[in-house]
């Protein structure tokens, strides 16, 4: 039978390295895949995994169990990713542009392209466009969008991981979605017709 996570944490805190490695084993795939999603390549995802576990080992005594162990690891991993993303020189959409999309009055024309035969990921062009658009989100928006809409974590959990208020998380999710939706809308407009 699988040992309870809380027992493993206690043992690891008391210096049992086998217990710590069992914790690593249980979480490694999740953290590595989060790294791939946030940073976009396997080398950076490997670095993220390594740095997350080193940091977790070194600060294990400060883990008080207020959040789940998984949330705590996510927080360490996301902080590492945010630092890395902020150093990137790639072009990002400006915060002003994101705010403008959500703050300006609802524009008059919205087209329903949701049933368009090209609206699927076998369409390489669309896939690339969407991937680039997600990568062009400023780090603090991208992290929220990936955690909530891609990883499927609840808003409260995202707020805990990123130490943000729930309204701040909601606003970033909303703006990211509107921005990506608009990118797709322009793509379908250029394709001509819906």
């Amino acid at each position: 039978m699988k040992e309870k996570e809380s027992q493993l944490i206690e043992r690891a805190k008391n210096g049992d390295t086998k217990a710590f490695e069992e914790l690593m084993k249980r979480h490694q795939a999740k953290i590595y895949n989060l790294g791939l999603r946030l940073l976009g390549n396997s080398q950076d995802a490997a670095d993220l995994l390594q740095e997350t576990f080193i940091k977790a080992y070194e600060s294990l005594q400060s883990f008080e169990g207020k959040s789940s162990f998984s949330t705590w690891l996510y927080r360490i991993a996301t902080n590492f990713a945010l630092m890395k993303l902020r150093k990137e020189k790639k072009n990002k959409v400006s915060l002003e542009e994101l705010k403008e999309i959500s703050d300006t009055k609802y524009k008059s024309r919205i087209s329903d392209w949701s049933e368009n035969p090209y609206a699927h990921l076998k369409n390489e062009e669309l896939r690339e466009l969407l991937e680039n658009a997600i990568n062009s989100l400023p780090p603090k928006y991208k992290s929220v969008f990936i955690l909530h809409d891609v990883e499927g974590l609840p808003l409260a959990k995202v707020s805990e991981i990123l130490s943000l208020s729930i309204p701040a998380v909601k606003s970033r999710v909303h703006r990211s979605r509107l921005y990506l939706r608009e990118k797709l809308e322009k793509y379908f407009q250029n394709k001509g017709g819906f």
């Binding site: 490694q28 576990f53 919205i110 392209w113 699927h120 969407l130 969008f145 891609v150 909601k170």
Partner: protein, 78 residues
């Protein structure tokens, strides 16, 4: 409810973050308003497509794991 209000609340609606009575008002509006209906459908599709891009979960390569465990084990001695 006006279109502008729907525009502000649509993400909360998709996330089921609104009270039932507000949800019902939005649903009523969407039934009548083609534009807000299109907004909702295309936002849902945007989320679906984004999720699908990253759907495949990858196994951590053996070499990566070896290095990670090695680096962590060095810390045991410190």
């Amino acid at each position: 409810m006006k279109c502008d209000d729907v525009f502000k609340l649509i993400s909360d609606y998709i996330d089921r973050e609104l009270k039932r009575d507000i949800e019902e008002i939005i649903e009523e509006h969407i039934r009548e308003c083609e534009r807000c209906f299109a907004l909702m459908k295309t936002l849902e599709k945007t989320i679906f497509l984004s999720k699908s891009i990253y759907k495949r979960r990858r196994k951590v390569p053996k070499k990566v794991l070896e290095k990670v465990y090695y680096e962590v084990r060095i810390r045991y001695r410190k």
